[in-house]
Symmetry: D2
Subunit: 351 residues, 4 copies
């Protein structure tokens, strides 16, 4: 069986692997559509999760069930399914407490292409099929549906963590695919004015289509000074960080109202500390919440978000700029993500 | 000064009244646009708030400030303002607890056309101007803006009380103007499938435009049996009651999932008891929440909801089917509400 | 293997049964201490869950693991464990949504002595051992620990559903063992004045020991009239129903402030409708929430509540009025629950 | 009229001032009991709020109303009242949004001894009497009641911000009077194991009396290493910072579970940045919330917290180590706070 792997830090390639075994609660799935993620790039070229040898990459995909364990009730071979990037152990105490993504330890629900092989293989394994698969609705393009694995749940969670309410003013920093989904998700929480921070023309165009009312370029000055000027020094209700670095937080706090929320869903790859400016944080008394989180995983969440797509409230296809044909195009797709041509938002591979 | 009043239960008319006095925190306002509300009909022809003599009617309006008290900081004569139907006493303990609409007693924030004169007068009084007025944004039609007095906050609150989350399935029972705003507000909370229950063709058309995916007619059978059939017996996540009677609740509970919420914003004018079916309520253990509430009032809320309109997320003009010209057309407008011609959703009077 | 069963509605007795089979995720447990519950009485003598034949009774117990399935990681034979009355299917969509007690359908997490054999057997089966067992802490009396199966989680959930905050005034209606735990739990949420409604002298004494500040007897008039008189007509912030009937709700709504919560954890065994008085419910606009729920089940919850006991914040032994020795005393214990002698709160059987 | 003031940074003293004027919504109050606060020390000797000239100090007090404005309904001369340290403008949009302490700008509800004269005067002024005073209950010692001005609401808010639930493990860093109230408040939210971090023997003794189960000394190693060792590397559910510096946050994050909350109520007097360790924060995905806030102010809050005291759930007298007699002893009291003798927790002055 062919799999596209991280051979070691800085190197990818194809290897042959045995078909994985299917436990009693699990499923084996063959891919229909796959998408690479910026996390794959971090994993391979930045060593973000540490050294790995021949780890199959990929955690975004739609596929067809080929085998299920004998304790699986709700899925059978032939079912077309969406696979969430995060596949919790649902009976863990963490999941029972509402944090399945941290089952058995921080980020422990992130298994694919991290602590076990990912989905870029001719057959891949999914733990807890009943808990972690969702049926692909009839008529939904499998490539579009791939956005339900990670981009939509990650971007949308930012808005839930931020507790966006009707009419809130919101800044979304970063308009790559996750940031764009944060923009779409903020509009779908009934925000008011929605500032999107970014410069790439295609991303700007899509941000507007998803509901951004204002575009801010960091080339025109610091983000916070621009936002404070526009808002007459008042700032905004919510700031979502979906791009940038550990240094982005200081700007975010400065443009945030007391009682506001800073919500981060950006993977922070380097830097020892996030730095919160003491004075603008109200000397520790300003009620400026700081929250962050890995996306929720599992079946229920994918089913819910799928309802947004099938009921016409969210069109994920706007994210997809490159659609490649053939399982072996995975390699091209991941290199696109690595090289980030100007017109790229998100590539998809139909297998 | 002319005012359009409830002379007694069952009778309306014009009277002359002195211009109201303006307290140190208050404002006097002359109307620019006014709208009658179904509550005015309840008040006059059903005696809903009890007997009243020459009570000025009306609680939905946009106007121009003509006088402010000496403790008012943020408004001045000439300012064009939106007036919320509910004008809390903001320093009451109830408001401090988050329930300004019940300041100094249940429903105590409802002052206009209830415990003091309403807005259907050449000059009307607003308590606590800084706390209860909001500036009319430039370029926003005053008639459309009248929908921010009551229809939008009442309908939208239903969705907040229902805690609608991404992808939730929702039923809205009743698609008069409040129900239509509940529909629009559910879509603006990112619901999934959205069933609107109603039959009048104009309302059905507008419900679809605001985001309803399915229309249910009570003429085709009980609502709950239809919803349960469509959902394969599972029911929906949230039910919003924006029309019907005390008997509507039993149907609502039957179609609601465990863990769901029934949210009522319908004024219940008659009947001794709301009846909750014991078995379908899980013999008292089904986690089917029942919530209700008068709209939030005050400046902050209107300002927030105004952001939805000025940022293009909500178009209230779809509600307005009749636009009348001239302050004296109030009478025609209220009779329209009373007679409910087939093509009526909401009338507006430009003064 | 001996088991104490419901032979049919109205009849209990001992039968021989085969030892249950242990699935790959499950455990078999032999009892150390067991307690009957009022629900067992409802089940047998009121037919509350319908007809059953030779259904093993009981859902409150502490035991020793005798066998685990091969997918169980955290428990092994010899471990002493607390068993929650509710044992959810943790990978169900309902559990993922936060409602494990309704996994695969309303009340579906309630398996013991309902849809499968209960714990009153020499060996009993527990589904999903890792998800549903909790270790018995060293030094904790197994009889006292039995209160963690149902009485504590049921009573304490009432306070969570009621969202009790610092200083809230609370009425707890019913001071049987669940009501007493609601009293203790309200004090452990920092309530202020705490009215307990009941008359049995032993229960009254224990209610005071758990934090009740006032005792109300329904023999002195309707509960709501007494509470309204004491509070000067204002009412209370929260009402918890842990006893009574479908008719108790009307009284509860009458004594509740706008913005308050009525929280029910009482099993409602008869009556077609719960009746909510329309006017006192603010004609549908009074913000008087009505919530109810089956206890949360599972390991995490038991572990959390156990922390209250081992850290000395809650002493469950005050509930236990009768301690019987020997597995065969189950029968006596259940008849005690049925006959309710004046000095009974809760009996325990050490096996 | 005599007032005890900050003459300039680093200097205090007595001055004569005119009696303040009483606006239509306001009250004038003469003190019955007063307490200095660590904030007064920061204000004077660290210049925490900037330079001030002859600013009357003090924001914790109980007094007798001597005059009220003509719009005040609920208080009259002769009433004995508790005065909260924070006195919001209740009709501000911030207060309407739930953040009265930030009315008209961050920390804007903090008026006494900050943006207007404080309570250390023979007569002091309270803005919005109906909104910001609370009656002193009969039989409650005025000195004890002074703890309701700031120590109790500040310490207790920490637990609300931390969303402490039944059985949560909690660390409280700092056991000065605010930290001790955080300890008491955590127990009154039903926490489980409760680690208090501090070394002063009197504070340790009181921390245990208020519910701490474990005492941690920073002299025995870093706090996080001790907590992680005790908890087997798992960490705790909630960390409350009520002492320390901007550097305390890194330790707090390290000992916090994913899904946990770090809640700060410590005034952070120096340092440019609070530093959050990137890796232990889950590279931005660990769901470790960081919250902070100035105490809630106003009447409703004081009334609620007073209920804890009058119902015997909280005994503030354990905080008070020094009780001085005579208004002129303010000076001694503030110097006690400045010099912090070993046996000091909180001094009170009876006037």
């Amino acid at each position: 069986m062919k799999a596209f792997v991280m051979k070691k830090i800085g190197e990818v390639g194809w290897v042959d692997k045995p078909v994985p075994e299917c436990g009693p609660m699990d499923a084996l799935v063959k891919p229909i559509a796959l998408a690479p993620c910026t996390s794959d790039i971090h994993t391979v070229w930045e060593g973000a999760v540490g050294e790995r040898t021949d780890l199959t990459l990929g955690h975004e995909g739609v596929g067809e069930v080929v085998e299920v364990g004998n304790l699986v009730n709700d899925f059978k071979p032939g079912d077309k399914v969406i696979i969430p990037a995060i596949t919790p152990d649902w009976n863990s105490v963490e999941a029972q407490a509402g944090f399945g993504m941290h089952s058995h330890g921080m980020l422990g629900g992130w298994k694919f292409s991290n602590i076990k092989d990912g989905v870029f293989a001719e057959i891949f394994h999914v733990n807890d099929a009943d808990g972690n698969l969702a049926l692909l609705p009839e008529g939904l393009d499998p490539g579009d549906a791939c956005m339900l694995s990670d981009m939509i749940p990650t971007g949308f969670q930012a808005n839930e963590l931020a507790q966006i309410g009707y009419g809130d003013s919101v800044v979304v920093i970063g308009i790559g695919p996750v940031g764009l989904m944060a923009v779409a998700g903020a509009a779908l929480k009934g925000c008011g004015r929605l500032f999107a921070v970014g410069t790439r023309p295609d991303c700007v165009r899509v941000a507007k289509a998803y509901g951004a009312t204002d575009i801010i370029s960091y080339k025109d000055g610091s983000i916070d000074s621009q936002i404070l000027e526009i808002t007459g020094g008042v700032g905004v209700d919510k700031v979502i960080i979906a791009g940038g670095t550990v240094d982005t937080f200081a700007e975010a706090i400065r443009m945030l109202k007391p009682g506001g929320v800073l919500s981060n869903v950006n993977y922070l790859g380097s830097g020892e500390f996030i730095k919160i400016p003491r004075e603008e944080w109200g000397v520790g008394m300003g009620h400026k919440q700081i929250v962050c989180g890995l996306m929720q995983g599992g079946r229920h969440r994918v089913e819910k978000l799928t309802q947004l797509v099938v009921n016409g409230r969210l069109d994920p296809s706007k994210l997809i700029t490159h659609r490649l044909q053939g399982f072996d195009k995975i390699e091209d797709a991941i290199l696109l993500m690595k090289d980030k041509p100007a017109d790229l938002i998100k590539p998809i591979v139909y297998c």
